[in-house]
């Protein structure tokens, strides 16, 4: 019997996990099997184990500042509602009625003391407690019914770090502080952009693309694509510089071009953190093109020159597996949601320091729309490239990818003089000149992917 059990639990997925990633640091080899982007069974497994089997980002506490505020999101396939109850406590719940399964909250966000299921009127309060089973007394239930909790199902893990909310559909996860580790200091830096913290600019924008979710994951960390994928945007910046006009949006790249061969010395690099988080960053001096330029002195006085300089740097942060914060042309928060092996949805918001001047906010929003929106001049070019990659991968059976090689010979363990300015110790770093364009930070994604997949397979084998 034991032997049979063993055979049953060695699924094809179990053997595929290790085969996908050819990771031999001693030989300087990291290659990825293209089936990572195409295989339907692998996709189903990673949706269960990566997205529904560990910490994922849900949203910001500042989205629900008042008692009884709520927003709805998803974890993998599951609808989630995050609510602030009457006492101000935050909670995350499966947004599905325990009676017949209907979604209880229908809207993206709102405020309500009570949530009435639209199907049979079971009613829940903002702490997820059942406040009414319609016609309960006349229901002729067996006693066994009363032994069940009729509340909304609470997420097995839900936690906040400095206004960033995370949840997990499984309970056996490390504490959030351990999951975020040193990367938490980059989230903290964002909240320090204003003494009053950050807020979301009203109005979110979402796009889909016919490609695997990891294409978006990688692209935010990809310094190598910028001048190849976005030359049309860079040409528009040149046109604007030739014909200055107050009506055109600003960009931090209108004068600063860290990728040029003339840019000498260190221009940025990457940090890899435990649990799959990465930062791709570039040195950008404070300039009037940046919406926080009017606060450069105040930031220096409040935070010191080290943090001030980091606030003006380009920072593309991924908190594995579904959250990206991109600060360059403006400031963007993204949530990545896998839908199918070749279909992904990305929901985006512009965030901003509270209390910035009306002119700075306007400048930030114009820069954001111009560069980041799927109706802007950069993101559609990325999305087209994701779709070209997915088409190129096709069956996935045409040999491994070579795009994980740049920077291997430059990788150093621990931090460096720049991370020291944040008191931050990453697991590894690469310091890059203008054209190194590190690709080792993707290794960190896939090692975390492998860890979550193995843990998920082991969890299911025990179940």
């Amino acid at each position: 019997m034991n032997e049979m059990r063993t055979i049953e639990t060695i699924s094809p997925i179990d053997s595929m996990i290790d085969a996908m990633i050819d990771d031999r640091p001693a030989d300087g080899v990291f290659r990825l099997d293209r089936r990572m982007f195409t295989d339907p069974e692998l996709f189903e497994a990673e949706r269960r184990h990566v997205f529904e089997g560990g910490w994922v980002f849900l949203g910001l506490a500042c989205e629900i500042p008042e008692a009884h505020d709520y927003f709805t999101r998803q974890i993998g396939r599951h609808p989630i509602v995050v609510m602030r109850d009457g006492s101000g406590s935050l909670g995350g719940f499966i947004n599905s009625c325990p009676h017949k399964g209907s979604r209880v909250c229908q809207l993206a966000h709102g405020n309500s003391r009570l949530h009435v299921c639209p199907y049979h009127s079971w009613t829940f309060d903002s702490a997820g407690k059942n406040r009414g089973v319609k016609w309960k007394a006349a229901g002729a239930h067996a006693p066994a019914f009363d032994e069940l909790s009729h509340d909304l199902r609470r997420l097995p893990a839900f936690a906040e770090h400095n206004g960033f909310l995370f949840g997990s559909l499984v309970g056996d996860v490390p504490p959030l502080s351990e999951h975020l580790g040193e990367a938490a200091k980059l989230l903290d830096l964002i909240t320090e952009e204003s003494p009053d913290g950050i807020e979301l600019v009203p109005g979110s924008v979402a796009f889909t693309y016919h490609g695997n979710w990891k294409l978006q994951l990688e692209n935010a960390s990809d310094a190598y694509h910028f001048t190849s994928t976005h030359p049309s945007y860079l040409k528009v910046l040149e046109l604007r510089a030739e014909r200055p006009d107050d009506a055109t949006p600003r960009s931090v790249w209108e004068s600063d071009q860290p990728w040029s061969e003339e840019a000498a010395g260190v221009q940025g690099g990457s940090y890899s953190f435990d649990h799959g988080h990465v930062l791709n960053w570039g040195l950008i001096p404070a300039s009037p093109a940046h919406p926080m330029y009017d606060r450069v002195e105040a930031l220096g006085e409040r935070l010191g020159p080290g943090k001030r300089d980091w606030i003006f740097n380009m920072r593309n942060l991924t908190v594995f597996p579904n959250m990206q914060i991109v600060e360059s042309a403006a400031s963007q928060l993204r949530i990545i949601r896998p839908i199918a092996p070749d279909m992904t949805e990305v929901t985006t918001w512009c965030f901003a320091p509270r209390g910035e001047s009306a002119a700075a906010r306007r400048q930030r929003i114009r820069s954001y729309e111009d560069f980041f929106n799927p109706t802007g001049m950069a993101t559609p070019d990325d999305a087209a490239c994701y779709e070209n990659c997915q088409a190129g991968h096709a069956s996935g059976l045409v040999g491994p990818l070579q795009g994980y090689s740049r920077g291997i010979a430059a990788t150093k363990l621990g931090g460096n003089v720049f991370s020291d300015k944040l008191g931050m110790t990453p697991a590894a770093n690469v310091l890059a000149d203008s054209q190194l364009c590190d690709e080792t930070l993707y290794h960190n994604y896939y090692r975390a992917w492998r860890t979550r997949m193995r843990a998920g397979v082991a969890r299911e084998a025990l179940a």
Binding site: L107, A108, H109, V201, P202, G203, S204, V205, A206, F207, T208, Y209, H210, T229, P231, S232, Y233, K235, V236, L239, R240, R243, D245, A247, T248, P249, E345, W349, C350, A358, R361, R362, I365, R366, Y368, E369, N373, P374, T375, G376, M377, P380, D381, A383, A384, C385, Y386, E387, N388, A391
Partner: protein, 162 residues
Amino acid sequence: MTRDEAAEFLYREALHLDRREWDQWLALYAEDAVFWIPAWKSETEQTSDPDREMSLIYYEGRRNLEDRVFRIKSGQSPASTPLPRTVHAVTNVLITAREPHAVETSASWTVHRYDTRRKDAHVFFGLYEHRIERRDSEWLIARKKVLLMNDIVPSVLDVYAF
């Protein structure tokens, strides 16, 4: 401008876009024209203040549309090379306000887009609000506001599809 003339004006803008007659399309806009596509902030409410809330596109000045056309034609935008094919259909044209030298119109629109890279089609739909002003001897678009109803963007959505 009569309702028939306003409708013809809107049809002409749509045809210029579908024929990729970029210069003629841009020539319909006043130099200080506003081109605005609000984002949605809930299921039922779109944003209303472009300086404090997100828009899909907000430009003041034809210059910005010229830059968009430059990018589309540059051959260096993967999203625009090859360019998707579009057909606009504009209906339900009404005059909603009339001044001595200006009219405001509302209209319904659909844009069928055929993505030649992926060989598939998508339909965008929404409402238009145009303000058309008589400037010197010409009628020009002073403001175009587009409400996009199906606002989850499938990969690429550019000015030629509004």
